[in-house]
């Protein structure tokens, strides 16, 4: 019972963070549309940058956390790590969908095409499908221990792919722009644009934390509830 109460508390705090994040997102839209200059060459579509990059950041961060938690699970065999890995993978998929829809919406007016089968875009899509497979695997396996063990291996494979996705713009010829903030040298953006990007990154990160906390809390509560139900069923059967 105390576990369920603690899980509910984590979920409710997560929901508060999500609510705050969504209100702040409205502020980011206002900041990006009204108080950030229009890029000279790309025009208005460049402002998609302020949601596309933070969504990509959150997706890759969430998938990295999935891989780390999966590795730790295989070492420590703590079911909370498996639940955390599952939560981050699901939230990462949600941010991936934002990344994979806003990207083509930016690409069409700037590159003249919705999609280009170049290294960055293709490997990002492969990463998305890998974690879609992770979700499918979890749904297919019934035994919790087996499910946690098998999905942890897939989670670690995803972690291996994350830095590769980031480095594709250096390793291959690609139409995708090179990093302008996450790079060894100073960010190559005017302050007005950098300020909006950093604010958006902060808001998206708050949303990521809120979503993961809520999913983790609800997942734990459901595990406990299912176990309680099974135990009740066994008791009635005796």
């Amino acid at each position: 019972m105390p576990d369920t109460v603690a899980a509910r508390r984590i979920a409710s705090r997560g929901l508060v963070l999500i609510a705050l994040g969504l209100v702040a997102l409205a502020g980011i839209y206002l900041l990006a549309l009204g108080f950030t200059p229009v890029e000279r060459f790309q025009g208005l579509p460049q402002k998609i940058f302020y949601v596309h990059v933070p969504a990509a950041w959150c997706a890759l961060l969430a998938f990295s956390l999935t891989g780390i938690a999966s590795g730790l699970y295989l070492w420590l065999r703590d079911p909370r790590l498996d639940r955390f890995a599952e939560s981050t993978a699901s939230v990462g998929l949600m941010f991936s969908i934002i990344m994979l829809t806003t990207g083509p919406l930016w690409g069409k007016p700037v590159w003249g095409t919705w999609w280009e089968w170049d290294a960055r875009l293709t490997f990002t899509l492969i990463l998305f499908f890998l974690f879609l497979g992770y979700r499918a695997l979890r749904t297919a396996l019934v035994d919790p221990e087996e499910r946690a063990r098998f999905s942890a291996v897939v989670g670690i494979l995803g972690l291996v792919l994350v830095p590769f996705v980031h480095l594709t713009v250096y390793l291959f010829r690609t139409v995708h722009p090179q990093p302008i903030v996450l790079k060894p040298s100073e960010p190559s953006l005017p302050w007005d644009m950098l300020r909006t990007l950093l604010a958006s990154l902060a808001v998206f990160t708050v949303l990521l934390i809120g979503f993961v906390m809520t999913r983790y809390g609800l997942g734990n509560g459901e595990d406990r509830g299912n176990r309680d139900n099974r135990e009740k069923g066994d008791g009635n059967g005796r």
Binding site: R8, A11, S12, G14, L15, I18, A19, L22, L25, Y29, L33, G34, F35, T36, P37, V38, G43, L44, P45, K47, I48, V51, H52, A55, M94, I97, I98, T101, T102, L105, W106, K108, P109, D192, L207, F211, T214, R215, L218, G221, E222, G225
Partner: protein, 42 residues
């Protein structure tokens, strides 16, 4: 710095991207909120 006067060309892509982002985030929040309410009722 005041509000810029923005050119309207290609504004549809920007609006679509911002709407899609908001719909996905709010939609996911609503799904989790409903699951939370349901879990609390049980």
């Amino acid at each position: 710095m005041g509000v810029d006067v923005l050119p309207v060309s290609n504004a549809g892509y920007l609006i679509a991207a911002y709407v899609v982002t908001a719909v996905i985030l709010v939609g996911y929040a609503v799904v989790l909120w409903r699951r939370y309410k349901r879990a609390n009722r049980e």
